[in-house]
């Protein structure tokens, strides 16, 4: 009897690639909240989470452990699906005023019930602080790209900026974000 809870994420994905439904169920247990939260936040679409996991079921064989962490791959599949849907519907679903992003302030943690929740809240704090370090214009392009599904050219149209400016802004924003997060990761060790 296989204890799926003891199996690492990358092995779980390997099992899913072998059409192991129990493995998919275990992966669902681990990531459903993250995937569902993203789908609801970006599109208010409950059924989308189900479609995302079906996508994982179909694409599991394409996961390459050399190309990144399982979590990154899963959230990338999820995000890509959401963005595809947003673009196909050709509508923005969330606020576009950078000032509105203030609503993403860290929610009170309230009573902490599990160690996992503590860890997640700490991770959330770190990403929020990292984003706060970015200049407003750079933060804006990341939010528009990630949470609103804008492509660079669509952002250029929306913001009335040259495409080259947006591309540079995206590059600098991501490089800075990555540097801050990796530095923070090293300090945690």
């Amino acid at each position: 009897m296989v204890d799926y809870q003891e199996i690492e994420d990358r092995q779980i994905i390997g099992l899913i690639a072998s059409l192991d439904k129990d493995a998919l169920e275990e992966l669902y247990t681990r990531y459903s909240t993250s995937v569902y939260s993203l789908a609801m936040y970006m599109l208010r679409n409950e059924a989308l989470a189900q479609e995302i996991f079906l996508n994982i079921w179909l694409k599991a064989s394409s996961f390459n452990a050399d190309r990144g962490q399982p979590r990154s791959w899963i959230m990338s599949v999820a995000h890509h699906k959401v963005v595809d849907l947003i673009r196909s519907r050709r509508r923005s679903t969330i606020m576009t005023d950078p000032a509105d992003y203030e609503t993403l302030d860290l929610l009170p943690s309230g009573q902490i019930s599990t160690e996992e929740e503590v860890s997640r809240n700490l991770e959330r704090e770190r990403i929020m602080k990292a984003m706060e370090i970015l200049p407003t214009a750079q933060k804006e392009v990341i939010m528009m790209a990630y949470f609103e599904g804008y492509s660079q050219s669509a952002m250029a149209d929306k913001l009335g900026q040259p495409l080259g400016t947006i591309k540079t802004r995206v590059r600098l924003a991501m490089q800075k974000l990555r540097t801050v997060l990796e530095r923070d990761d090293n300090e945690q060790l």
Partner: protein, 309 residues
């Protein structure tokens, strides 16, 4: 957006470093995204850079308000894998319950005393008719539910099969695109693979990057060898073997796989393709399908590719 030959040459040699950040954010146009993905399939350094960026991007989801999914979502997901059917609603039919609302004063009236038995008989009749109708309707409903389940299962299976087929087609297209990029790059060096007697008729070639950091192996006519559709690729050095890739062939016997070993290809002595379905299994001489000695890092020592027959 269509690509012309000059753009293909550009992609074959250049690294789209300026697009990786946008790629990680899903902020590229579909055509750009596809080309970057094709590049990442064979370029180890770019692939690792993209992976690091995607790790940072993946953490952005933490900023979204956390929402627990409904408990039935998991069941719906697993059910959709099994049958693709939606939950059916139960049909229930309850016979009418006779209601009585007499008052004591009414009971003693002659008309009431006469009509009540009649009413009771009518009620019994109606009740019986309702029971018969219930049975017939239940049977009909069961039949319809069964038909619905069968149809839904067929549709679900068809949808799943179509999705699988679509995925296979996409994988095949990616493979072909990747192979064409390798072939188009004049800096890559070909090495013909020698086939074993048991694999007569099959052909294979290894295209490697100039520095040996990556390579693509292409095989054809593999159906003449074994019914199996999976082959394992090993690099050999002083008798030790290192697994590097798995090649899947299609029903036409064609297959290709790009890979990038941890060390340069030219630090190994030999490459072997064996007919195993899983990596790591002990190989016998009968398993070996193709092989080639890897020369030193001197392109001039590469074997000339023999003419295809």
């Amino acid at each position: 957006m269509t690509t012309n030959n000059s753009e293909n040459e550009h992609w074959a040699g250049a690294h789209p470093l300026e697009l990786l950040e946008a790629y990680a954010l899903d902020a590229l146009e579909p055509e750009e995204s596809f080309q970057v993905e094709a590049h990442l399939d064979w370029c180890g350094p770019c692939s690792r850079e993209a992976a690091r960026l995607q790790e940072s991007v993946a953490r952005l989801e933490l900023m979204a308000q956390r929402t627990q999914p409904p408990t039935e979502l998991q069941a719906r997901l697993m059910h959709s894998l099994d049958t693709g059917s939606e939950d059916s609603q139960e049909f229930s039919f309850s016979p009418p319950v006779a209601a009585s609302n007499g008052s004591n004063s009414l009971f003693w009236k002659p008309a009431v005393r006469f009509l009540m038995p009649v009413a009771a008989m009518i009620m019994v009749g109606l009740f019986s008719a309702a029971m018969v109708l219930n049975v017939r309707l239940s049977d009909r409903t069961d039949g319809l539910e069964q038909q619905n389940s069968t149809l839904a299962a067929q549709v679900g299976l068809s949808i799943t099969e179509n999705q699988l087929e679509k995925q296979l087609m996409e994988d095949k297209l990616n493979q072909l695109q990747l192979t064409s990029y390798w072939l188009a790059n004049p800096a890559n060096h070909p090495l013909a693979l020698k086939t074993s007697q048991s694999a007569a008729g099959s052909k294979g070639v290894l295209l490697s990057a100039k520095d040996g950091s990556g390579a693509i192996i292409m095989v054809t006519n593999m159906k003449t060898h074994t019914p199996g559709s999976t082959y394992q690729v090993y690099l050999m050095r002083q008798g030790n073997r290192v697994w590097v890739a798995e090649v899947k062939v299609d029903d036409q016997g064609w297959g290709s796989k790009a890979y990038w070993p941890e060390e340069s290809l030219y630090r190994f002595d030999k490459i072997e393709l064996v007919s195993q379905t899983v990596q790591g299994a002990a190989a016998s001489s009968a398993d070996m399908v193709m092989e080639a000695n890897i020369p030193g890092a001197l392109p001039s020592q590469m074997l000339a590719l023999p003419a295809w027959q």
